[in-house]
Symmetry: C2
Subunit: 403 residues, 2 copies
């Protein structure tokens, strides 16, 4: 049975909205909504959605079984090399091992199911990257018409992994923040459910990352910090909500601190955090290699600021630091997107500058696969040349001996 | 404790070789070796290598814990749409959800550990695709010098995902089969352990796919066919060996039939199978979009033929069929490489032509992520155009209404 008596609560003013209507932001103050907190137990199952089903009582489990592509259960990898280099214990939660190779899939599944539960036959999103591919994939799996809104400057390499699933790619001549707002407004009238970056049900899907981390902690000991690449703010909200729900369920006693990491070229949350103000300001000209976290007007920005007051901090790192961190990660065997590498750049900066940040236990969310943004590798080449040689069969032995 | 009393057995003449020496092919007949069959139990653990540790008694578990990047535990996804379209039950084992987004990682981990157990400090492989990236990643993680041998015609898009890990890319002016042979020969002298496509320990790593499928069968019922994209033959050998070991351990009673799928433009195994001969012939000019299975002289080709006599069949499909199947898969939410799509192309041809192939249960191994070969998507475009539109904010509502 699906529990439709739950409420969507405004994260700012607390006003509640019925869960069986397509509310996404507060009617009164336009801040993001969230599903009211639930309590539950973790069950014994190898399938994520069965293990945590108590925390998804408002979701039709049959639809999960039908539409899931096998999200989650991603590994936590300890990096001895990075731990040594950074003077801290570094654990990496590898979200690239998901159906479309980013964490987005966990949220997209739950978002798509919300759309179906509300009776929609068409869905959409506003994204050029991980989320666009993810929504296209699940839209295809569910047999829904899918509209992906992008800006016209989308590079060709990003188009194919979206349209391959059969979705409709629509290039809109407007600012990103404006497309986000318009999509929700028009979507309601046109009967298209837009599963954008901080849709309340998308955020619910991200809770599974928090549940998995909590289970990992119960076996491997406490973490000091969870480091989260932060664009819209939806991911951080989801992970933290999982911990809060587990705490009120009596299943965890401590909650790790969260570090929201942005890129200096687009860091509205980190800027507001540093200034100590309560509201973010739109970034006029975002410019960073970390496209996946370059949200100039994060729709959950203010809510992230509210949450960080108690639960952590925000900071920004430069593109150069991001590229260096990406290279460090790949030389330790893990090839991620620039946005994911921002986590390591942040720890590196913290451990350089403050003695507080040594011998701590960090877990970084590696949000998306490096293979998706091959162009960034070319940027890395500018920092350090790669090892490429030419030879023939006669010279092969000599060449190999010099490796 | 590591069991070093085991033997490596020639798959053709049965001659045995000690496991603690770097043998890869039979000293007498040059056919591939395999680790002698072991018996064991499946343990209760969420970690693949702990669950199946009985079947890896010759591997140092401490090295697995240190070097693993979280391989395996990949989902089996049921496709309602493909099942309907093909008149059979279609299950998809999604190996793209691995650390470098292909099945190779399972074998690379065990191969790298063999190299370390034998005292090597340098490793290598011969590959331009999935295996090259995988060996580069694990070489980096293990802190080993890593040489990747490729042909000089390697496209640029394939170079970055290899060298990003810090490995040495060496372009060798020679035929692929010749580079394979020379690498083993020179490697031994130069102290470089080449973990090529059918290295006996690499094949051991692939057993985990078979174990996972067997566990899936125990919960979901028997399969009629396991469909395996086949290049060198190492993958099919590994999956089948798992079933044979489980059978002799009394853990499974039936073994599904195997279908080895190749691309028509490079199908030495399928050709020999059709002719009913015991030995493969080298393909002079391989030409197919399915690069990941285009091995003109598969080192395990003869052994695959021997195994298929009892356990299944081989067939080849055209590039056009492969691209159509890739499109079918992506329109059902799963974006794979052409080589992986060859499995669906094979079932499609079988179910078209023979009434024997209806209402059967097929499981396809989806070997690698589509995102790795974006150029193939451009080929798909030639079959069917994608949905791309341009608009502005004023027209957005009208555009969306037409989706």
């Amino acid at each position: 049975m699906i529990n439709m008596n739950m409420r969507l609560i405004c994260t700012s003013c607390g006003k509640d909205h019925p869960i069986d209507e397509p509310h996404q932001r507060c009617e009164d103050c336009n801040e993001p909504l969230e599903v009211e907190h639930v309590r539950g137990k973790i069950k014994d199952s190898e399938i994520v959605w069965e293990r945590y089903s108590d925390f998804y009582s408002f979701i039709n489990q049959k639809l999960i079984n039908e539409l899931s592509l096998g999200e989650g259960n991603t590994p936590v990898v300890f990096s001895k090399r990075l731990s040594h280099e950074l003077g801290n214990e570094i654990y990496l939660k590898d979200e690239t091992q998901n159906p479309t190779w980013s964490f987005k899939d966990r949220g997209t599944l739950i978002g798509v199911i919300r759309a179906i539960q509300l009776g929609y036959q068409r869905i959409g999103t506003v994204s050029t990257g991980n989320m666009a591919a993810s929504v296209s994939a699940y839209g295809a799996r569910a047999g829904l018409k899918t509209a992906i809104l992008v800006r016209p400057d989308i590079p060709e390499e990003k188009i194919y992994p979206i349209v391959v699933y059969g979705s409709n790619l629509i290039e809109v001549e407007a600012k990103f923040g404006m497309i986000y707002r318009k999509s929700l407004e028009i979507g309601k009238k046109a009967g298209i459910y837009f599963i954008n970056s901080d849709d309340p049900f998308r955020v619910e899907g991200y809770k599974t990352i928090g549940f998995e981390i909590a289970e990992w902690i119960s076996k491997n000991g406490n973490l000091d910090y969870v480091v989260v690449p932060t664009g819209s703010g939806g991911l951080l909200r989801g992970i933290l909500k999982a911990f809060l729900e587990l705490k009120s369920s009596g299943l965890v006693s401590e909650i790790p601190k969260f570090i929201a990491v942005q890129a200096e070229g687009c860091s509205p949350i980190a800027k507001a955090y540093e200034k100590g103000v309560d509201y973010i300001e739109e970034v006029e000209e975002p410019k960073t290699i970390a496209g996946a976290i370059a949200d100039p007007l994060p729709p959950s920005g203010n809510e992230v600021l509210r949450k960080l007051k108690k639960h952590g901090m925000a900071m920004a790192v430069s593109d150069r630091e991001i590229l260096e961190a990406q290279r460090m990660l790949s030389k330790s065997g893990i090839f991620v997107q620039p946005a994911s590498a921002a986590t390591i750049a942040a720890i590196r900066r913290l451990s350089d500058g403050y003695t507080d940040y040594t011998d701590k236990r960090f877990l970084c969310i590696l949000t998306g696969a490096g293979i998706k943004v091959v162009s960034a590798v070319k940027e890395m080449l500018k920092l350090e040349s790669f090892n490429i040689q030419k030879t023939d069969l006669e010279e092969l032995k000599t060449t190999l001996e010099s490796v």
